[in-house]
């Protein structure tokens, strides 16, 4: 067929419509999952964490986190006597291989597991210039790696240091709250392997979730509440020295 000007003008819109369908992407992966019925968060009980590093290892394996980078990590706090504003914090390899045995050197010692707080008013998503990171309708902060330019704005904007640039893909990466698991009715990899149940996935929209009773009856705090990020990772028994 000869391409005349008339035919070309007719073909262009048709091609645009077809390309539109190509761009629409894969069909829904979890058809029984309703985005509007959930609002995900996590509960972390510091008084239960033993610093074994199971969560860090499980996260790396489940999500193929590159070596030397962490979507979740554990910090060991040492607060000498009254020096609550000057805690000594260490996290060798993110706690992936546990912690070196410590003799009791006085003061207060404890572990704090950290991960993305999946903030409802997240500073990281607000700075993205291309709409590559966002809060889903079920309250999980995700990165669209096909759209991410790797400009690192979000990495700087996160007050909790939860993002990094994947050295292979050169796109921003972070905890997805194991989105591929929770949408299939499973818990996250870190919560699955936590031997003391120090980490528990919580669905804040589910009235039967035990988190509601826990929040009512315990002294619970989020990290950096003065940042007003709407953080949804709740810490039980968190010391005032935790940053």
């Amino acid at each position: 067929m000869e391409i005349t000007r008339r035919r070309l003008l007719l073909l262009l819109p048709a091609a645009a419509v077809a390309w539109n369908y190509v761009l629409a992407g894969a069909p829904d992966a979890a058809p029984n999952y309703n985005l509007t019925e959930h609002w995900w968060g996590m509960l972390i009980d510091i008084s239960k964490c033993i610093g074994c590093g199971s969560c860090v290892r499980a996260c790396a394996e489940e999500n193929e986190v590159p070596e030397g980078y962490y979507r979740t990590w554990i910090e060991r706090y040492h607060v000498a006597d009254w020096k609550i504003e000057r805690p000594e914090v260490e996290s060798p390899d993110g706690g992936k291989n546990g912690f070196p045995p410590h003799v009791d050197d006085g003061g207060k010692n404890f572990f704090v597991p950290k991960l993305c707080n999946h903030c409802a008013d997240s500073p990281c998503t607000q700075v993205c210039p291309v709409g590559a990171t966002f809060v889903t309708p079920d309250g999980v902060v995700l990165v669209d790696k096909n759209y991410c330019l790797g400009c690192r704005y979000c990495i700087q904007a996160c007050p909790y240091g939860c993002r990094f640039l994947n050295p292979k893909t050169n796109t921003a990466e972070k905890c997805t709250l194991c989105y591929h698991r929770i949408t299939k009715g499973l818990t996250t990899a870190c919560c699955e392997v936590c031997p003391t149940a120090a980490r528990q996935l919580a669905d804040l929209k589910n009235p039967k979730d035990p988190i509601h009773e826990f929040l009512k009856t315990h002294t619970v705090q989020v990290l950096k509440p003065h940042m007003a990020t709407g953080a949804k990772v709740f810490y039980n028994g968190m010391d005032g020295s935790v940053r």
Binding site: G25, G51, E61, G131, T183
Partner: protein, 167 residues
């Protein structure tokens, strides 16, 4: 120039209307071009939930799992579950020690989990550390056992000391 003189003579508002038609055509082509280009470049699901590509959510959700989940383990290994009920490890999920087993769950006969070295695995949780909560059972393995495998004395699924192992 007969045309010019005619327009001047009548004082017609639409004199030189041809220029406006050309301009309108250029603008029309630009607008149509923009609309076509936009339709071609912006994904269909962009803006479905907000200022991002809605299809990205299901793409991320489509990732395969690596850890099978405790309920999957329980479906077959009922004997171990019964053993675990005898001890404190009842709350510990199988994959906390045995590692990710989704491949084993998909094909139990050909993918077999590795045998664990209890001298390493047990210490990950039970090696003494001053930052661990008081009351959590912990030992300095060097003093406690001298580095021998823990399952010499302890049964990992219900870790009470077994009398025949004690000697």
């Amino acid at each position: 120039m007969p045309r010019r003189s005619r327009a001047r003579g009548t004082g017609n508002l639409f004199k030189d209307v041809e220029h406006l038609v050309r301009l309108a055509a250029v603008i029309l082509v630009a607008v149509v071009g923009f609309v076509i280009l936009r339709a071609a470049v912006v994904p269909r699901s962009f803006g479905q939930y907000g200022h991002y590509r809605g299809a990205a959510i299901s793409e991320i959700a489509a990732r395969p799992i690596t850890f099978a989940g405790h309920e999957t383990c329980v479906a077959c290994h009922t004997d171990v579950v019964e053993q675990k009920k005898l001890g404190k490890h009842v709350v510990v999920a199988c994959e906390a020690c045995h590692g990710a087993q989704a491949k084993h769950a998909d094909d139990p006969s050909s993918v077999q989990p590795k045998k664990l070295d209890t001298a390493i695995v047990c210490g990950r949780c039970h090696e003494a550390n001053s930052a661990k909560p008081r009351g959590f059972p912990q030992v300095a393995t060097a003093d406690h056992s001298g580095g021998i495998a823990c399952d010499t004395c302890h049964q990992p699924h219900h870790p009470k000391v077994e009398t025949e192992g004690k000697k």
